[in-house]
């Protein structure tokens, strides 16, 4: 803990750069973002520009939107101290019902989508009830769910594929429609890009205004400037890439759905009572309970929300493939979990962010994609993905043991000696697992000797 007031900021400081991404607490996210940029540049060079080719980018979004949607729900589950292994099977089960409802029962796509979401809610309530009110560990409940809903998918579909009407494929393989005067670019995507660009500037301005209101230390203006310029450059080039691809293509609809979900859930986790309570339950459920948090209700809704997002992901997956099959969604849960942990969530709960998990998911996605472009076989891709997960979390655990926020945070802040007494104590966690028994909670804690 630093008792001396911090020196006034003059000129360039490495720490200010870190502030581009918010205050020091999410140094981990910055690190993963850095890793993502390095990976993209690496593949861009070694694939001779194929990586950032419009067609490949569109593929990248379409192929990974559903895993990233799962990661949104998964990070909340993991923050609350649970895990969900059933999402791939739930996605497949919802997929087969939605596909059948359109193919055999002639539901219009909109109604079918509604049906899919309702099924997600019901499955989620089922699993949430077991976890929250019966008290079966989520690992077991969702392991059972993984078997149950995989079987249900194959039982319901007789282990065959069911094709979906073209209208439905729009949510998985469609693009933002073009309109207006004919340009070299897709006008819809250009408009979207413009919107995002404006929002970025407004957001940064509002963030600075809030900081002024709070009277907290602001990063120098140039930091905001650089941040906005960098972000705008990314938005502009991405817009031009997506808008300038093959005729008839533009930004994928699945990407829009993903984007909206990321915004909504980021807001929920950061700015609402529910979000705060999810972190509280995962961080120390004893303390949360004694602060009046209704733990069971939180656990119930976190598990339920995951299943709803799994149903959304399942429908997008079916729409992209054009059919629902018996092996849809196999392994999705593991991809989502890997994304969340690469994105900085803690295995013991209490720590994690939506944006971090999305970045973590993108790291895996770009690795997958780039290695395939380089002609690396699926066998070796898996080995590399496994190692990346292990190293990313290993670095995190190691740096916490050393009492530093993370390796990347150190890189951002410069060597320890120049930190000016900012040596942070190692994070102490109460040694209480969230899945404890009645026995453990039966006595008030009294740990002091005598």
């Amino acid at each position: 803990m630093s008792a001396t007031p911090e020196a006034p900021k003059t000129g360039f400081q490495l720490r200010d750069l870190g502030k581009m991404f918010g205050s020091g607490s999410n140094g981990r996210q910055v690190g993963i973002l850095g890793a993502l940029v390095v990976i993209i540049v690496f593949f861009q060079v070694f694939t001779n520009g194929l990586t950032l080719d419009p067609t490949n980018l569109i593929n990248l979004v379409n192929q990974n939107a559903y895993v990233l949607i799962l990661a949104i729900g998964m990070v909340m589950v993991i923050i609350a101290g649970h895990i969900d292994l059933s999402v791939g099977s739930i996605a497949a089960f919802v997929g087969i019902i939605v596909a059948t409802s359109m193919a055999s029962w002639h539901f219009p796509p909109a109604v079918a989508i509604l049906l899919g979401i309702v099924i997600g809610v019901i499955i989620g309530a089922w699993q949430g009830w077991w976890v929250a009110y019966v008290g079966v560990p989520a690992f077991i409940v969702t392991l059972a769910g993984m078997l149950i809903f995989r079987g249900a998918n194959q039982f319901f579909g007789n282990s065959t594929s069911v094709t979906v009407p073209d209208a439905f494929t729009y949510i998985g393989g469609g693009f933002i429609p073009d309109f207006g005067p004919s340009t070299l670019y897709s006008n819809g995507t250009l408009l979207l890009g413009l919107l995002v660009a404006v929002v970025i500037v407004v957001q940064e301005w509002r963030a600075r205004r809030t900081q002024t209101e709070m009277g907290s230390q602001k990063a120098p203006l140039w930091v905001s400037g650089v941040k906005v310029v960098v972000l705008e450059a990314i938005v502009v080039s991405a817009t031009l890439l997506f808008a300038g691809g093959r005729a008839g293509t533009s930004f994928p609809v699945s990407g829009i759905i993903l984007g909206v979900l990321v915004l909504v859930y980021s807001f929920i986790t950061r700015n609402t009572t529910f979000g705060r309570h999810v972190y509280a339950v995962g961080g120390n459920w004893h303390a949360a309970e004694l602060s009046g948090v209704k733990i069971k209700r939180i656990n119930f809704f976190v598990m339920m929300n995951m299943s709803v997002l799994a149903s959304v992901a399942g429908m997008i997956g079916v729409a992209r493939a054009g059919a629902s099959g018996p092996n849809d969604g196999v392994g999705w849960e593991l991809d989502a979990i890997a994304a969340v942990f690469i994105g900085g969530a803690a295995v013991a709960g209490g720590i994690g962010t939506i944006v971090g998990s999305i970045i973590g998911g993108l790291v895996i996605a770009v690795l997958n994609n780039g290695l395939q472009l380089l002609g690396v076989g699926i066998d070796r891709v898996q080995i590399i993905k496994g190692l990346v997960l292990l190293i990313a979390v290993g670095v995190d655990v190691y740096s916490k043991k050393q009492g530093r926020p993370s390796l990347t945070a150190i890189l951002m802040r410069g060597p320890r000696s120049s930190q000016g007494g900012d040596a942070s104590a190692p994070i102490e966690r109460p040694s209480i697992a969230p899945t404890n028994s009645a026995e453990e909670s039966s006595r008030p804690k009294s740990t002091t000797p005598n």
Partner: protein
């Protein structure tokens, strides 16, 4: 043990403590909570290895340097902790030989083990099947299994930390007889106990610790020691002038608990709170004195939204009306706050920063349609940081980086933010330094002066006497006395804390 000094960061737990135990005697160690009894025993049994303390241990004429518990056990010193170290799912035999299994060709010889177990059980007077699972035994029998385990290690010096704390009268007596029996066979014992009558009954000599120093060693027979003599030794410290003035005006009774009875959450026949009734007035600080395990925390937590034990019976009245507090959020809505005794495990989410922690018990005060107003959150936290003088550069500092005293101030701020009418403080100054303690006393008195009722649970008698207006004592789950702080003194308090005989005056 000669001149043992043990320091923890910021605290000198033991200061040149000496202890002489003669062969084959029963030696008791007395002292208030925090006097250093357990720390001393941990040094002796190798929990704190040689090198982490100063001074020397001489055992059977030779200086001993224990690296760990294993090496002290090899020498014949066995400690039995207050929290029993048995594995509930394993059988008696398996527990007795855990880590010390008789082997033939590397394979555990269970026949041999069981034969020896039967023999050991006979020696401690336990007639249970050696294959019975530990979890099916009562605490008294478990204690005997622990002793059998120690005997198996050919113990020469047995250390018992509060061996009878969880036992009923009959089991306690059996255990004490057993300890006397071991003495007959040349096994010396060191006993730590809060139950002074037991100490008086079986000890040959008594060493009194106070504030980490060894005050005196009494020979029970020669000095004619009785309970009063022991109490005088335990509390004989000067009260420093570190308590703020009582400046509040005490108003009407506004909070009343009648016949409160609570069951132990696991064992239905054990009542942890028995038929307790008490009142709190506006602007009054009401102290609760009791030994560890007497039921103070259990009483407080069961009142606070039934967060402990199983509710059996009792009523709570606030402002003359009966209120129901079935869960914590109802308790908070009815104006109760509870600062737990274990701030790290129960009071704070150590992953949070200060501002998140401060608002966490009443988020509704800063939300609109359940969206958090972060500017307001920051403002609130900042104002508490200033008014309570929390030493942190900013309110987005993680609470895990704060010292104990400052963490405790954050917890206090968290509960002050809920604007409670009745604030229950459970050991609010445990483990924090003297300066921060004084500040916290000031905060407590300020809260009382603003008309709030305060319940102060503390193991430190000077603190209770210095801060409270009135004090209840609890012994084995029942309220045993009620006295105003002016007429109370450590001797009278300790007497009511260690026996149920005293009559309860009506408030």
């Amino acid at each position: 043990m000669r001149s043992i000094t043990k320091e923890f960061p910021g605290v000198k737990a033991l200061d040149k403590v000496s202890l002489v135990v003669k062969a084959g005697e029963i030696h008791s160690i007395c002292g208030e909570n925090g006097a250093g009894k357990s720390t001393l025993m941990k040094v002796l049994s190798g929990v704190y290895p040689h090198g982490t303390y100063e001074g020397e241990i001489v055992f059977q004429g030779r200086e001993s340097r224990f690296r760990d518990i294993g090496s002290s056990e090899a020498a014949g010193i066995v400690i039995i902790h207050q929290e029993l170290a048995l594995i509930p799912q394993l059988s008696i035999t398996e527990n007795i030989f855990l880590g010390n299994e008789p082997r033939r060709f590397g394979v555990i010889d269970w026949v041999q083990a069981k034969k020896r177990a039967i023999d050991l059980l006979a020696r401690v007077g336990l007639e249970d099947d050696p294959d019975a699972q530990i979890k099916n035994l009562g605490v008294g029998k478990q204690q005997l299994v622990e002793i059998a385990k120690a005997l198996n290690k050919s113990v020469k010096l047995l250390i018992l930390d509060e061996p009878t704390a969880a036992l009923n009268e009959a089991d306690s007596q059996h255990l004490l007889d057993l300890i006397l029996g071991l003495k007959g066979r040349g096994v010396a014992s060191i006993m730590i106990s809060h139950k002074l009558n037991e100490i008086e009954q079986i000890s040959d000599s008594i060493t009194i610790l106070r504030d980490g120093k060894s005050i005196e060693t009494l020979d029970v027979k020669a000095d004619g020691v009785d309970e009063d003599r022991i109490i005088r030794g335990m509390v004989g410290r000067t009260l420093e002038n570190r308590f703020p003035d009582r400046k509040s005006e005490i108003g009407e009774v506004f909070f009343e608990v009648k016949n409160w009875t609570v069951q132990h959450p696991l064992t239905a026949e054990r009542m942890v709170v028995k038929n307790s009734s008490f009142v709190v007035r506006r602007g009054e600080v009401v102290g609760f004195a009791g030994l560890m395990g007497a039921g103070r925390t259990e009483l407080a937590m069961s009142l606070f939204g039934r967060s402990y034990g199983t509710f059996v019976s009792g009523q709570v009245f606030k402002d003359g009306k009966e209120i129901r507090l079935r869960n914590v959020s109802e308790a908070i809505k009815n104006g109760l706050g509870y600062v737990s005794e274990d701030r790290k495990a129960l009071g704070l989410n150590l992953l949070d920063d200060i501002q998140d922690s401060v608002v966490s018990a009443k988020l509704s005060k800063i939300t609109k349609l359940s969206v958090i107003d972060k500017v307001e959150e920051h403002r609130v936290a900042e104002s508490y940081r200033k008014s309570l003088r929390i030493k942190a550069p900013r309110v987005d500092e993680g609470v895990n980086k704060l010292s104990g005293g400052n963490q405790q101030k954050v917890v206090l701020a968290k509960w002050m933010f809920t604007d409670p009418d009745l604030l229950i403080l459970d050991e609010p100054t445990r483990g924090i330094d003297v300066g921060a303690k004084t500040e916290i006393y000031g905060i407590i008195r300020d809260l009382a002066a603003s008309g709030k009722g305060i319940i102060l649970i503390s193991s430190e008698l000077p603190e209770l006497l210095g801060v409270s207006d009135r004090i209840y004592t609890i012994f084995e789950g029942a309220i045993t006395s009620n006295m105003s702080a002016d007429e109370a003194n450590p001797e009278t308090l300790l007497k009511s804390m260690t026996s149920a005989k005293k009559k309860v005056n009506s408030p």
